[in-house]
């Protein structure tokens, strides 16, 4: 019997921690885009007083609020995953400060701006009574900008471009349809107002 050690080669299919968290960042980002789109659509439907006739009026509003909280949770996962996994050397500060550092690409800077806006809107919405209606509404309108920035970030950053393009098309179509409904509802409501 040969006493020499025979090397055994085993295919290494294990994922590194960096890969695991990097993939989590990408997958949560994709779901986040769709979730944010649903939040924007529900917000537009809320403002247009839409909803199935048999549903009580508060259902769409409550769903808009709950889904936005789910989106914020997904955003936190999307921000923390690359930081915890050390993916591409990203740091937590890059998610909030769009101007630092110099080597970070424009797509990540756009995402940092979008996440800042989303967190501001979340805080202001939680303190809506104290913030006042006008301030709440002004900050709430910036979510459209945050949504567009998120869309551009996902498309421009380059990973999963094929699948993100499909999500982009679906998202833009859904928001355009809801916006069209919102404009029609605004005209209808304006017509109902007493002179």
């Amino acid at each position: 019997m040969n006493s020499r050690t025979v090397p055994i080669y085993v295919a290494d299919n294990s994922l590194s921690s960096q890969d695991t968290f990097g993939y989590l960042c990408r997958s949560s980002g994709l779901v986040l885009l769709l979730s944010c789109t649903a939040v924007v659509v529900l917000g537009l439907l809320c403002a247009g007083r839409a909803g199935p006739p048999r549903w009580p009026g508060f259902v769409i509003h409550s769903l808009h609020r709950n889904l936005s909280l789910i989106s914020v949770t997904l955003l936190i996962v999307h921000l923390l995953a690359p930081v915890i996994g050390g993916y591409l050397g990203l740091k937590l500060a890059y998610a909030f400060v769009p101007v630092l550092p110099a080597h970070i690409r424009i797509w990540t800077r756009l995402a940092a701006t979008a996440s800042d806006l989303i967190f501001v809107v979340t805080i202001v919405s939680a303190a809506r009574v104290r913030a006042g209606y006008r301030f709440w509404r002004a900050t709430h309108l910036t979510t459209y900008l945050a949504w567009v920035l998120g869309l551009v970030h996902g498309t421009g950053i380059g990973t999963d471009r094929d699948s993100i393009l499909w999500c982009d098309v679906l998202s833009v179509a859904a928001v355009a349809l809801a916006a069209w409904y919102r404009v029609r509802a605004a005209r209808r409501l304006a017509g109902q107002r007493p002179l």
Binding site: Y23, L24, R26, S27, L30, L63
Partner: protein, 45 residues
């Protein structure tokens, strides 16, 4: 009248709860599913 209002509110709250739980489940499953696809094939095509 009051009983009907309570019934409508209860129905609405149940609806919100059911759809929210479904949304959480879908978000979780979609994230895990896309993660698995990326891990297996490199990109979710």
């Amino acid at each position: 009248m009051k009983e009907r209002a309570i019934a409508v509110r209860t129905h609405g709250l149940a609806l919100v709860r059911a759809i929210t739980i479904a949304a959480i489940a879908i978000a979780f499953a979609a994230t895990a599913g896309i993660w698995a696809i990326i891990a297996a094939f490199g990109s979710p095509r």
